[in-house]
């Protein structure tokens, strides 16, 4: 059993009967209701969750819990298939679509006794970096309502205060990040194709892990970019991310892109001696637009490692600035292919047009997809035209190799872990964010995160400090392929050093209970 971490503490409380799975579930459901204004959830599966909690309780009574996740309330991003529960991808195309099966990662969580509270909000089809472009509306960052943010913000007028001031969660897994951040669940699944788990994790002050490509099954995750997508893990501390990883990783015969190597779940050691570590600081990640605040924090973090005895070296990933361009081409190309399945025939929205198959497909897709999705499909098709294929698609694949090789070279030179910022700045107010279009925003916001997807490497956001506006800022660690244990060990050490403050939310105080007290003492204040 894990000694540290929130999940292990709650698990202990469940085993000892200090709290029951039903109580946990009910508290979370109540909190979801009272934080509805965050718009973090698209579907709340109240009945099934309570049923799962009851079954968990029976197991605890018999002294036979399935494991550390038994009875733990979790949330899942709404682009994972969940049997019997609506899966929308925040799109009109899939409104009303009830999944006939569970994604492998969902099944694994349920098999461990986890309680599925509901499906979280996202940008439509996971395309975006704000969680603002889904059909159910934008997700609000819980920190918008925190004491820390309110103290620092200057409202224009009292009535305008909260309504116009709220900040975005980042995206596209904003709902999951907000859910974890606001205590409505203990862990959540996101997805990460260009930073979609790490970006909202940074803005919402939670841990966001992008595992190595090929480690966790994508079966049942509605695909965006098959060669880059991974399920992402959002938790309140690094130890919990390790627990989730342990439950989810491993070969899946239903996903041929999962490696066949045996995966052994691990406990994270409490690292005390970092003198054998070599931390790389990629100079190209000092990207244009990086806020001076985050630059300073990044520098401070590097010093932290240096002062603790680690070797800290500046390294170079020369093709960094092309990775966003490369991503743009490869992503739209794969999207063009993946979105072709939505034609209205077998599932999802179907237009009433009857003249011909093609006109029905065209009308269905016209009605079902938003501008962002349609834009990417059209761009992708352009890059895949015969006359453009070599020039754009193959070219991008070549540049991809160069980017991946950059990382290989750096890791081969003796660097163990890379330390970079996760985002260019803290979370923007919604009114500011929507001034630019989705593609522009994604281009800006993904710049620090998506090279890791290009190379398939594991990466994690660790909440580091609060900005001057009272909002979370995180830093990113990137590790070697399949070396999650080392990555998380270093991340855990760093987490312990920085003591990121807990969010002070009015709503949570109202629902205060032993369990939440538990959380408070378990995390750092």
């Amino acid at each position: 059993a894990l000694k540290d971490g929130l999940l292990s503490q709650v698990s202990a409380a469940l085993k000892e009967g200090r709290v029951t799975p039903t109580e946990l579930c009910q508290r979370c459901l109540a909190l979801i209701k009272s934080t509805k204004f965050l718009n973090a959830y698209i579907t709340v599966a109240e009945e099934t969750a309570l049923k799962q909690a009851e079954e968990s309780e029976e197991r605890y009574k018999r002294g036979q819990p399935l494991g550390i996740l038994d009875g733990i309330p979790i949330a899942v991003k709404d682009n994972f298939n969940t049997a019997g529960i609506e899966t929308t991808c925040a799109s009109n195309m899939l409104k009303g679509y009830i999944s006939p099966y569970n994604a492998t990662v969902v099944q694994k969580l349920l098999d461990q006794g986890a309680v599925l509270l509901g499906k979280t909000n996202l940008d439509e089809f996971a395309m975006g970096s704000g969680s603002t472009d889904g059909v159910f509306g934008p997700v609000r960052n819980p920190w918008s309502y925190s004491k820390q943010y309110k103290e620092k913000s200057v409202p224009k007028s009292h009535s305008e205060d909260e309504e116009s001031n709220w900040v975005i969660t980042g995206g596209s897994s904003g709902g999951s990040a907000a859910a974890v951040s606001s205590f409505t669940c203990f862990a959540a699944l996101g997805s990460d194709t260009g930073g979609s788990t790490r970006n909202p994790a940074a803005h919402c002050g939670v841990v966001g892990l992008k595992p190595t490509y090929g480690l966790i099954s994508r079966h049942g995750l509605i695909p965006l970019v098959n060669s880059m997508d991974v399920p992402g893990i959002l938790t309140r501390c690094v130890d919990d991310a390790a627990v989730l990883l342990g439950s989810l990783a491993g070969h899946d015969p239903k996903d041929s892109t999962t490696v066949q190597d045996d995966f052994k779940p691990f406990e994270l050691p409490n690292l005390t001696d970092v003198s054998k570590l070599s931390i790389g600081i990629p100079k190209e990640y000092h990207a244009p637009g990086l806020s001076s605040e985050i630059l300073a924090l990044w520098s401070k973090a590097a010093d932290l490692f240096k002062n603790a005895g680690a070797k800290v070296v500046e390294v170079s990933l020369p093709h960094t600035r092309y990775s966003i361009v490369c991503y743009h081409v490869l992503c739209t190309a794969e999207v063009a292919s993946n979105m072709a399945r939505f034609d209205g025939l077998e599932y999802g929205h179907r237009s009433d047009k009857k003249e011909s198959t093609e006109s029905m497909y065209a009308a269905t897709r016209r009605e079902g997809f938003n501008d962002v999705v349609r834009g990417r499909i059209l761009s992708g098709n352009y890059f895949l035209l015969k006359q453009n294929y070599e020039k754009y698609f193959v070219k991008a694949q070549k540049v991809r190799r160069l980017i991946a090789t950059d990382f290989v070279k750096v890791f081969r030179s003796g660097v163990d872990i890379l330390l970079t910022p996760t985002t260019l700045s803290d979370a923007a107010p919604y009114t500011e964010f929507i001034k630019e279009d989705n593609r522009t925003r994604s281009t800006q916001d993904d710049i620090l995160t998506q090279a890791a997807n290009m190379a398939g490497l594991p990466a994690i956001n660790v909440p580091t400090a609060l900005s001057e506006r009272g909002l979370p800022v995180g830093l990113q660690f990137i590790g070697r392929s399949f070396q999650e244990k080392q990555l998380l060990t270093v991340a855990k050490w760093f987490e312990k050093q920085v003591q990121f403050p807990m969010i002070q939310l009015e709503e949570v105080k109202k629902h205060d209970s032993d369990v939440f007290q538990h959380q408070k003492s378990a995390s750092f204040s």
Partner: protein, 109 residues
């Protein structure tokens, strides 16, 4: 240089998705402009990369045993128009109307 109306029309046919308005077309123009930066990179002698797992794994063949299925009823649930175990589609082999006859933003271009 701007993308011609012929190509735009061709894309609408291929993608079965519409540009909708001038913003949509502008979006494509900007996307192409952005992607053109790739040509600054020297990729002589570099092989295209299909998958980051190229060294690690090869697709394997499994035994040709039926391990799952019999889920017709579940799969038909989500289809709007069906007859018995068939998905019902409008008549096929009818191409999308030409640009001049189609209700598309591109008509005005």
């Amino acid at each position: 240089q701007k993308v011609s109306v012929e190509v735009l029309d061709h894309l609408e046919h291929l993608a079965l998705v519409d540009f909708r308005d001038s913003e949509g077309v502008e979006r494509l123009q900007k996307a192409i402009q952005f992607a053109d930066q790739l040509h600054e990179v020297n990729t002589d002698g570099v092989e295209p990369m299909d998958s980051v797992l190229e060294d690690r794994w090869c697709l394997y063949l499994r035994e040709d045993d039926v391990t799952e299925g019999n889920c017709t009823k579940d799969l038909m649930e989500n289809a709007r128009e069906k007859v018995e175990e068939y998905f019902v589609a409008p008549p096929g082999n009818i191409p999308l109307p030409k640009l001049e006859e189609r209700d598309t933003f591109l008509q005005g271009s």
